[in-house]
């Protein structure tokens, strides 16, 4: 029975995992059998629906095979059958922790095809909401990292902040999570009356709470340091070779940020630093995220200080029918470089849409980096990559 299961798995998984699963009694040099363990897809601490097939020697991981695809919803194919504006709410569902960047990337790609001019106010509001989205994603990421290390409290403080930002988003966009706010040609609507003041007030409050709840509580903790320092260590060369982007790349010391190197929208006018950390381990990624939240706060303050006046939506006409050709929009989402490639054949619907999500690429790191670590270290490494199930499976 069991061997039959294994054979089925062997067929479905391809060569990597099968080498282990086909032979039922592989022994190590001491003649001791290793232990197979199946983590996920229904695992309470796993990020979304990820299945890891592990081979354990005691508590040490000998081999780790991530199996993706348990949340595949064929977003790319669905996008081919929707009219251009109707794809935007679908992109919302890709990375459900940082939706606003997903909309932004798609709209940038289609705008390249349409050659529309975005008004300065719309651009500024886009950048403003995008940075709120980044805070909203990074703070829970830190909380999840702590949850995976066994501390339950920071995640609730993190979700307190996330809920408050969601309330801001609800007042601006109308929804708490699936915003559908950034539209092709601008944004859905201008900020409501008195909203910039409310945002300013919230940001000030966040600054005062941030150090207490997310830095003092976590950073100095000896157990946190022991659990994260040197765990998931990688070199900048390795990170570049793996094609990592976002925090996993920047925590090794490579200062790559799409906002800085390929500026889009309002980011040209903003003054911010690319946060890097030399450590290249889980602790470094934690410091990187904390630093990026601080940079986001700084950017939001800059935008709110001189928010341009004017319209927020370009004149688009009733139906969108872009020229034939292709457009690429790349943005820096909270998890790395997110790029959308839209191919148009001149009709109502896109001919092909491809989402390059950072999670899919960053996840490849797992099978390279996990072997050799202890079993409890897998979860902090997941916290370093911080993937989102909807984004890697699309």
């Amino acid at each position: 029975m069991l061997s039959e299961e294994r054979r089925t798995e062997q067929v479905s998984l391809g060569s990597r995992a099968s080498a282990r699963l086909a032979g039922s009694d592989i022994r190590d040099e001491f003649g001791l059998e290793t232990l197979d363990m199946n983590m996920g897809p229904q695992h309470p601490a796993m990020h979304g629906l990820l299945r890891l097939i592990l081979e354990l020697d005691g508590e040490t991981v000998v081999r780790c095979d991530p199996v993706m695809g348990y949340l595949h919803r064929s977003k790319e194919k669905i996008s081919e059958n929707r009219m251009y504006p109707a794809v935007v709410p679908i992109t919302d569902r890709i990375d459900y922790m940082n939706n606003i960047a997903m909309e932004y990337g798609y709209c940038l790609a289609v705008e390249k095809l349409l050659d529309v001019e975005i008004t300065p106010r719309a651009d500024a509001i886009r950048a403003l909401m995008n940075e709120f989205g980044r805070i909203m994603s990074h703070i829970p990421s830190v909380g999840f990292l702590m949850l995976e290390l066994g501390a339950f409290t920071p995640i609730l403080y993190a979700f307190r902040e996330r809920e408050r930002i969601q309330s801001i988003f609800e007042a601006v966009t109308g929804a708490r999570m699936m915003f559908h706010y950034i539209r092709i040609g601008g944004v859905k609507a201008d900020l409501p009356e008195g909203m910039p003041e409310k945002m300013w007030e919230y940001i000030e409050g966040l600054e005062s709470r941030f150090d207490n709840d997310f830095v003092d509580l976590i950073e100095g903790n000896e157990i946190f340091r022991a659990r994260t320092r040197g765990v998931g260590k990688m070199t900048p060369e390795k990170a570049l070779e793996m094609g990592l982007t976002g925090v996993p790349l920047r925590c090794t010391g490579v200062p790559f940020d799409v906002r800085k190197h390929y500026p889009y929208g309002w980011y040209k006018n903003l003054d911010f630093d690319v946060v890097t950390d030399a450590a290249g381990d889980v602790e470094g990624s934690y410091r990187c995220r904390i630093g990026e939240v601080r940079q986001s706060i700084r950017m939001i303050k800059q935008i709110l200080e001189n928010l341009p006046e004017g319209e927020v939506m370009a004149d688009m006409g009733r139906r969108l029918r872009p020229r034939e050709g292709d457009g690429i929009g790349r943005v820096e989402s909270a998890r790395g470089e997110y790029a959308v490639h839209v191919v148009s054949d001149g009709s109502d619907t896109p001919y092909r849409v491809h989402y390059r999500t950072p999670c899919t690429v960053n996840m490849q790191l797992l099978q390279e980096i996990v072997p050799g670590h202890y079993l409890p270290d897998i979860m902090p490494i997941m916290g370093l990559i911080d993937p989102v199930s909807g984004a890697w499976d699309k």
């Binding site: 559908h180 100095g220 000896e222």
Partner: protein, 179 residues
């Protein structure tokens, strides 16, 4: 090792202080917060104003709106106009994207503040607005994809492109009649 335990004690001090902080939970069924003006709740239709233009049905990414269209002389002008005899919004599919609200030329479909949708059966979530119920399980035909050969002239583009989506929804009610 000189500072061993300091970070732990500092963190514990922070958690201890939080014990006396104000609670942020809201006891939901007793306490309902005010929804902001733009909040997007469940959809509703003002059938008196609907002109059965089918634009909402066409734009809907989830095909959650199905409309059965007939011709009827509703306002007594002697000239039969399109009339939505059946109108269903399937809330089990709706994703509250607000595209139908924006596209409606007479503002007859709009969001309410209601958001508590629950039922024992998926079909109960399909809310009928018209005189005649429409089967929500049948997909209205999605917008037809018109692929044009690369070399086609620009003149043909407009005429054909406009014709295509108009045809599509008209087919849908016929199908449903047959079903």
């Amino acid at each position: 090792m000189p500072q061993l335990g300091q970070g732990i004690l500092k963190g514990m001090g922070i958690t201890f202080k939080h014990i006396f902080d104000k609670k942020i939970t809201r006891a939901y069924p007793e306490y309902k917060r005010d929804l902001p003006e733009r909040s997007r709740g469940m959809l509703t239709v003002d059938m008196d104003r609907c002109i059965a233009c089918l634009q909402c049905m066409r734009i809907c990414p989830d095909h959650c709106i199905s409309i059965e269209q007939t011709k009827r002389d509703a306002d007594g002008s002697g000239k039969p106009k399109p009339y939505a005899i059946g109108f269903v919004i399937d809330d089990s599919r709706c994703m509250y994207c607000s595209l139908c609200v924006e596209v409606c030329p007479v503002n007859c479909i709009y969001h309410t503040e209601e958001f508590e949708a629950q039922a024992y059966n998926r079909l109960e979530l399909a809310r009928q607005f018209g005189e005649r119920p429409v089967d929500p399980t049948i997909d209205p035909k999605p917008a037809v994809k018109k692929k044009k050969p690369a070399g086609k002239a620009a003149a043909g583009q407009g005429a054909e492109g406009k014709a295509a989506p108009k045809k599509a929804p008209r087919k849908a009610p016929n199908k449903e009649d047959a079903a």
